[in-house]
Assembly symmetry: C2
Homo-oligomer: 330 residues x 2
């Protein structure tokens, strides 16, 4: 296992220390239990948004704390759900009097722990579960579909609305609407290596890829021969567009998300394949996002996400945002 | 070779097409010869900045086109210098009447071709050569030191000054000053694979790393046993700080740059090691940058850069910037 680290059991703590030090103008790190908030928190009167989940998906979620997106984040150990006491402490810290929305990716451990955290938080709260991955229905760690890179789009759009004054119920309803309009699928060219395991999660030959892979390296739809970028994009987008019932002329956000080990040059090439596929079906691309946003440690691979964004949603996407990983307009 | 691609000879063109399509609000792609400019170009009366070099280092350089940084970029094939006709065409396109500064990383092919490009450009111009890598003196592709991730810092600070109205001579002098105050060193945990070669550039065992590696996978100082993050940071920072004659109390920018295959979680952990090393020597960290900014395809590894930024330079670093890869303040 070749990783930059000092000791397996200090990876998360040291990485969070580095993140908080590098972005002290945006975030604050809290310990015992571990959670992160905005540097200036709580924001009085604003609906607060908390997300979290296992680590190893950086910049998800801590990279999305800041104006126009999240208020707090609860990071678990690598690929391990955070604990209820983290959520409860984070909720108390970020509540500005307007309640807290928990944004949870659909994995059994996360859903269960966020439910328990919500019960003991002692502040007004609601929960929103993200399940954008069309690859499989029930899976290794889920009942129902997995939550993957589409989470970034939901967190950003609901974050913009919360910044603009939307109340807790409105934020939850908006998040459900964006989640329902968002579909993703991923593909892996290599495995990742969980530090505590010390060896690759799965093995792929030099001529294979895992189509529909999950963001923890869990199995997808099928193991297939390595295809061209155009073939890979077509397979993923056909599944996504069919499931979304995407129609010509509707505006979409097209996201190509790297899993951590794929260079930007290849991600932009995949974006080119994806946009040409969309153009061939008259699916309008109103906004784009290309980069490493929901990763799986050092896995080589990517996911494609389509999100149907009509006018009010595009306006929210464009609102000012200032986080470690996404910034514009401020 | 496992890469997202359709054909080896179309990788660069398709990646650039994707990049230009994803960022059409910021950049414009020109063909025959290939170069990129700002979407709105030239900027009348502003000193124009052009950079470029071999591809495979994304987001360097095209990701740095935009307000507060570059006006144009000439991308070569992977790890191959661009040609003089690209520089000449780019210079003509971006010149707003105040001349063009070519910012060139110190590799023999780049330096030679930029010199020829400058001669045939037909516009007032000057050149600035970046050589921040302390690892080796003469090397595989250079006479003198290599230009690596410190290039980002030079391009950004000179870009801010140019936006504020600095003339060609002032931009060149400022760039020389920042380059002289900037030092970098890199380490590789794995090789990269140049698409046209189809196999890794070099081989490392599971217990080795290449200390002082170049951004094309060229040899560094020595091949050594894999160390801890703290040991790696100490080796690199000792070489950097000695060469820079860094003194306690002086303000520095600390950059931890990923080479493309290293996840953000590890980069922030390396940043934590680096900042603790600096704190132990009372080297002040005034600004930080952590992420994949000067990559080597999918190489796992990173570089550390220290740049001594006194007050006017920090002010320029903080000025509004709007590029695909760096954004703040606008």
């Amino acid at each position: 296992m070749k990783k930059f680290m000092n000791a397996v059991d200090r990876i998360l703590a040291e990485s969070l220390d580095g993140f908080a030090a590098a972005h002290g103008d945006i975030v604050a790190l809290h310990r015992n239990p571990v959670f992160l908030t905005r540097a200036k928190s709580p924001v009085k009167g604003k609906t607060a948004l908390i997300s979290g989940g296992g680590s190893g998906h950086e910049p998800l979620h801590a990279g999305f704390i800041g104006r126009g997106m999240l208020d707090g984040v609860c990071p678990g150990q690598v690929f391990t759900a955070p604990t209820p006491d983290q959520m409860a402490a984070a909720a108390k810290a970020v509540d500005g009097g307007a309640g807290v929305l928990f944004i949870v990716k659909n994995y059994s451990g996360d859903v269960m722990n966020f439910e328990m955290g919500a019960e003991i938080a002692g502040v007004d709260n609601a929960s929103l579960v993200i399940n954008d991955d069309v690859a499989v229905e029930n899976s290794t760690y889920t009942t129902g579909r997995r939550g993957v890179a589409g989470t970034v789009i939901v967190e950003r759009i609901v974050g913009a609305a919360a910044e603009d004054g939307a109340d807790l119920a409105a934020c939850k309803a908006l998040g459900e609407r964006v989640n329902a309009a968002t579909r993703s699928m991923g593909v892996a060219l290599t495995s990742c290596t969980v530090p505590a395991a010390g060896k690759p999660t799965f093995e792929l030959s030099d001529h294979e890829m895992e189509m529909g892979v999950g963001i923890h390296g869990e199995p997808g739809r099928r193991r297939v021969a390595l295809g061209t970028a155009d073939e890979i994009a077509a397979t993923m987008l056909q599944a996504i567009a069919d499931d979304l019932a995407a129609k010509p002329g509707q505006p979409h956000l097209l996201m190509v998300n790297g899993f951590g080990g794929t260079p930007l040059m290849e991600l932009y090439l995949m974006y080119d394949s994806a946009r040409r596929w969309c153009a061939g079906r008259n699916l309008a691309i109103a906004r784009s996002l290309v980069g490493n946003y929901t990763t799986s440690l050092e896995m080589a691979g990517c996911s494609i996400t389509l999100s149907r964004l009509d006018d009010p949603l595009i306006g929210l996407w464009d609102r000012p945002i200032h986080t470690a990983a996404l910034r514009w307009g401020c």
